[in-house]
């Protein structure tokens, strides 16, 4: 408990300093609970998510960093490895391949990488996965782009 708190506090300070470096990630800690974080990540360029800003919710366990944080998309996203309804993410480093050397910041980077490189063979969103698996890249891209426009872009844009 104490260890996770101390570590999160270190991450908090690091995030404050790093803000200028990674313009694609904005990590914010809940004002009253250091175990709750949200992140805004920019959709990677040259993907159907380009131009969108996606909100992630982090729930950090007390055993952190020995256990991975729970992360899910709050913003609706059409992606093979993200559950369309719950926003749950299927990513190895958030499960078996977790290492305590990961930080919330680097988890965000991993999620951005996942957005750019979907793994259709372990789908949480079967429709999205099937499109890619059947080779219909255009179909996948247009669906993903549509949801990016609908959910991840400000109405003005």
């Amino acid at each position: 408990m104490q260890a996770s708190r101390a570590r999160l506090f270190k991450e908090y300070k690091e995030v404050q300093r790093e803000k200028a470096v990674d313009p694609d990630i904005q990590l914010v800690c809940d004002e009253s609970n250091i175990f709750k974080w949200t992140a805004l990540v920019k959709g990677p360029s040259e993907t159907p998510y380009e131009g969108g800003v996606f909100q992630l919710a982090f729930s950090v366990p007390e055993q952190y960093p020995l256990q991975p944080p729970q992360v899910r998309f709050l913003t609706k996203i059409f992606h093979p490895n993200v559950h369309f309804k719950t926003g749950e993410i299927c990513l190895d480093i958030l499960k078996n391949a977790w290492s305590p050397a990961w930080t919330l910041q680097s988890v965000c980077r991993a999620i951005i990488a996942l957005m750019a490189h979907p793994e259709p063979d372990s789908p949480l969103n079967c429709d999205s996965g099937n499109l890619l698996r059947s080779g219909d890249v255009r179909g996948y891209q247009s669906m993903a782009r549509m949801y990016t426009r609908l959910a991840a872009m400000s109405k003005k844009g």
Binding site: A3, A6, R7, K10, E11, E14, R17, E18, A20, V21, Q63, P65, L66, Q67, S99, P100, A101, T103
Partner: protein, 278 residues
Amino acid sequence: MEDDAAIGVSDHVSSESNLEDSSCCCPICLGPFIQLSYLDKCFHKFCFNCILRWTNVVAGKHRSLPSSVKCPLCKTENVSIVYGGEGSSFQRHYVNKDFEDSFILSRAHRYRLQCYYTDQGLLDDIFNISQYWRSRKYTQPNCWLESWLRREIQALIQEKDVDIIMHHILGVVKAALWTRKEQKSHMNSPEKKQEEFKMSVSEAARRFLAAKTDRFVYEIQLFLASGMNIEAYDAVYIQRLGWSSPGINTEVSHSALVDRTTVIPYLYIFDGDSDENE
């Protein structure tokens, strides 16, 4: 304005790279190292407690104890955590205790290691090294030398598999003593022969035994000069030093026992520097 931004960024980058090459803090707690320790293969650094707790988490996920743990930074499989490195010694915590048990020093090994912490020359009146050289006894092969060397090296470097080192040193010893350059070496004085022997053996052994090399070369000569087998030789040594023997607990003067067993035979770091220290 642009200049300012550039400076700001490079500042951030350097502080970040500091964090990433983990020279300043433990990658698990992100704090300064507490009881600095290393993984034994990749040598990544962690707080001892941090990496130990992670190791236990990993072990908890397996039905049977794994023999290794992946480094959180580079995924290299490591079998032990090296910690407590102060001065010339360090300790190891094995991921799998069974693995550690595969080689623990036997009492005879520990005993031999303790001998290296006594003053040299305690048995000189029993086994006369210079007599050994002068009388050219060295020309007679010694069939126990191989086993004796193996145990000695195992004790000194605390590894089970020392065959390569043992054969290397044995080869050098044999070459120095028993090769047929007799015509030539007969003309050499025994002193010269002894010097040659000490030189070539210590040269062969130093990279493995470091600071213990000179004593090791002396102990080889002592063993050879004894002309005894290992059991008999140990018995004489034990009798002289008055320690409890490897096998039997005998009544010994307590002060001697306490004095001489205070040295805990940790693993010794063999680096170039330690050569000069002794």
